[in-house]
Symmetry: C2
Subunit: 423 residues, 2 copies
């Protein structure tokens, strides 16, 4: 894929961009009650149009079958009445979330009599680039409408029919509530060639949020002229400290790895303090293996419990599967250094009964979410009370960690005076 | 300037980047007291080394004279003992600012017993790209040290000797306090060719803040793989509403335009409601002309008070000078539409005694700072109580408007449990 731009595509993108920008302006002037009504209508419309959405999805599944797509990938693509109902339920949850637009988050009176406040406003136009899962279309649309933003939804070609059907339903619902359907936009085609004009449309799109595999994220980062909030992989660690409680360690390691291995907040690497390795590693290994987890270990792990010898790549790996890299480390410093070197700034947990070790781990590890004595699986917008989430940012700028509707806004300063001037 | 990368330069940049990254890690683990001590020592060192800094500046001034640089540009380049003392005073002010690193901004207990908090942490490594003014070196260094960030300071070639001298002094002061001097980095040369390797060093730099002219900002935005927070031009507007008080209108318009015309929060365009034009425009024009301001007007302005006829370019212009574009608009909607079309998202003010008009203007104008009945010149970190500022962001992402030390941090989630797992 080259970095060159086709001028016809650029012109088409500009025309679409102008429509999105105009819709964002109208949407930002709508009331919270209007946006709530639109979200509820979007949910109803999805349920009412379930047959059409499933019919479109059948075309995607037929194409996937032709291409020989099977297993987890095909499963993520497939819609059922229950999955459409889940999208509708997600939209109703977002409808119940307090609307952030216009919320005053700070208010001060200056000595010169000026009243200064900071007020939440929409970011403007969001660009979301994602892969196979069609539910992202409904989830992202809901969060953007809640926060007063227009959005370009660029889903993967695998789900193009389902995405188009869902988008059509949602646009119709917006229009029926008197809100601009162009608040929900897409590109003329799912062809990857259209990504570049989108990523260069800095006049029309204010932030790009890519969700997907390493190749997609790299391409977006390398080519975007628009600021990017990456939702990158989760190479999450659990560190079992010397002072770890055996029962907590076992429950947390098992839950972090095996409760739902295919998600980004599942653990991928277990670090064990050398002073606890003989006491805890055999028990942990036995429990993990009983849950079907394959271990890939450092030499000390291999010596203590047997395991496939880990290679350098294993420390970087996001398996998203029942595989766990295991390393015995000499101390807390070595655990933190390992996380700094191999981690992805997502979520890391310590299991320990030593308050000093906990304090140091929570202070010094600079990932988006740091956890003491609980599972990494709590790094989730729903679990943390943010409402629905657009994803988990591993970019420090603007939002770090789970991002909800509030994170799709920014703050403007409002200054109210009675004729004050500067001297 | 081409978009191609030299591999030797990329390797050099990677080596520098790794040093900056390591220093950022050390700095983030230092205490607020250490950072305060370092800032005070940086201030003392600047004053103590004033003769060396002025000698370096003399080389820059001689080069400027050879190139025939005069007027405001030469003035911004020139240092004096008082200007060095002002830099030191700025560092002492930053030293007195509450250190943001480690500050808990939110704390909640979840129903499952988890304690969740959000804690400020440094962004990591900042890249600042700026032009002639050498005081930016000290100001930016101070704000980055206060917020626990390492920084790459890439100043313009015009000030290269002064910038190098200031940087050397500040690095020495950091080292003397036991903090890593590599927290303050620069590029091997001020040659513009070095910008590209810097803008591609996404592994080592977390955010780029460009401060400067349109050409610089465009180049940075077009070429950066690192998120950019733009500090773009200020095409600020004052709207004099139908219900404006005459005295306030005159004081505010004069102050916004003429008190310091060379800065980004000075007004560049005056919009006057048609119903107030005959009553107020003659008086405003007289006062502005008495202050030496040239008017460029729409046809109605020309008819009412005489003026150079304004062209389309005048509505986009950031004069930074005693020139003001003036337009009579039919109503509030037209004023808002003009600002949306021609503005730069910086600062806009309304003068009115009508609460409904004020409310609509403050709600609907989505610039970083919106003002009612006060001068646009209050859009300033110092005036708004943020302490020193790194500039005024016109990018909605992360920070919008005046940015202080707190805006150079992000929030991480800290979750504390007693063995909780997800079910």
């Amino acid at each position: 894929m080259s970095g060159e731009l086709d001028t016809t595509m650029t012109a088409t993108m500009a025309a679409l961009g102008a429509r999105g920008r105009a819709a964002a302006r109208r949407l930002s002037k709508s009331t919270p009650a209007q946006r709530t009504a639109a979200l509820l209508r979007m949910a109803d419309a999805l349920e009412a149009d379930t047959p059409a959405i499933l019919a479109a999805n059948a075309l995607d599944l037929a194409a996937a079958d032709e291409r020989g797509i099977t297993g987890a990938l095909r499963d993520r693509l497939a819609l059922t009445p229950a999955r459409v109902a889940a999208m509708a339920a997600g939209l109703r949850e977002v409808a119940a979330w307090p609307d952030p637009v216009g919320r005053v988050v700070e208010r001060r009176n200056l000595a010169n009599g000026l009243k200064v406040s900071r007020v939440r406003i929409p970011l403007g136009v969001i660009g979301i680039v994602y892969e196979a899962r069609p539910n992202v279309t409904a989830d992202a649309a809901g969060l953007c409408v809640r926060s007063g933003n227009a959005v370009f939804l660029r889903g993967g070609s695998e789900a193009e029919h389902a995405n188009a059907a869902i988008l059509g339903v949602l646009r119709g619902a917006l229009e029926a509530e008197g809100l601009p359907p162009d608040a929900l936009m897409t590109l003329p085609s799912t062809d990857r060639a259209w990504l570049l004009p989108m990523l260069h449309a800095e006049e029309f799109i204010d932030v790009i949020i890519p969700r997907g595999g390493e190749g997609l994220i790299r391409f977006v980062t390398a080519n975007s002229r628009i600021p990017v909030i990456k939702h990158y992989k989760g190479v999450c660690h659990v560190f079992v400290d010397a002072a770890a409680d055996a029962e907590k360690a076992q429950a947390i390691v098992l839950n972090a790895k095996a409760q739902r291995p295919g998600v980004c907040n599942a653990a991928e690497t277990l670090l064990v303090h050398a002073d606890a390795a003989e006491r805890l590693l055999p028990m942990l290994a036995e429990a993990l293996r009983a849950a079907g987890v394959e271990l890939r270990g450092c030499p000390e792990t291999v010596r203590l419990v047997g395991a496939t010898p880990a290679t350098e790549e294993d420390w970087f790996a996001e398996y998203l599967d029942l595989i766990l890299a295991v390393r015995v480390v000499p101390d807390l410093d070595a655990a933190i250094a390992h996380i700094e070197r191999y981690g992805s700034d997502h979520t890391e947990a310590i299991v320990s009964e030593d308050p000093a070790a906990i304090r140091r781990f929570l202070d010094e590890v600079q990932s988006a979410v740091v956890v003491a004595n609980a599972s990494t699986r709590f790094a989730d917008g729903g679990q943390l009370g943010l409402g629905a989430e657009i994803g988990i940012s591993t970019t420090r700028l603007h939002a770090y960690g789970p991002m909800g509707a509030d994170d799709l806004t920014t703050l403007k300063y409002v200054i109210e005076g009675e004729g004050q001037v500067r001297t």
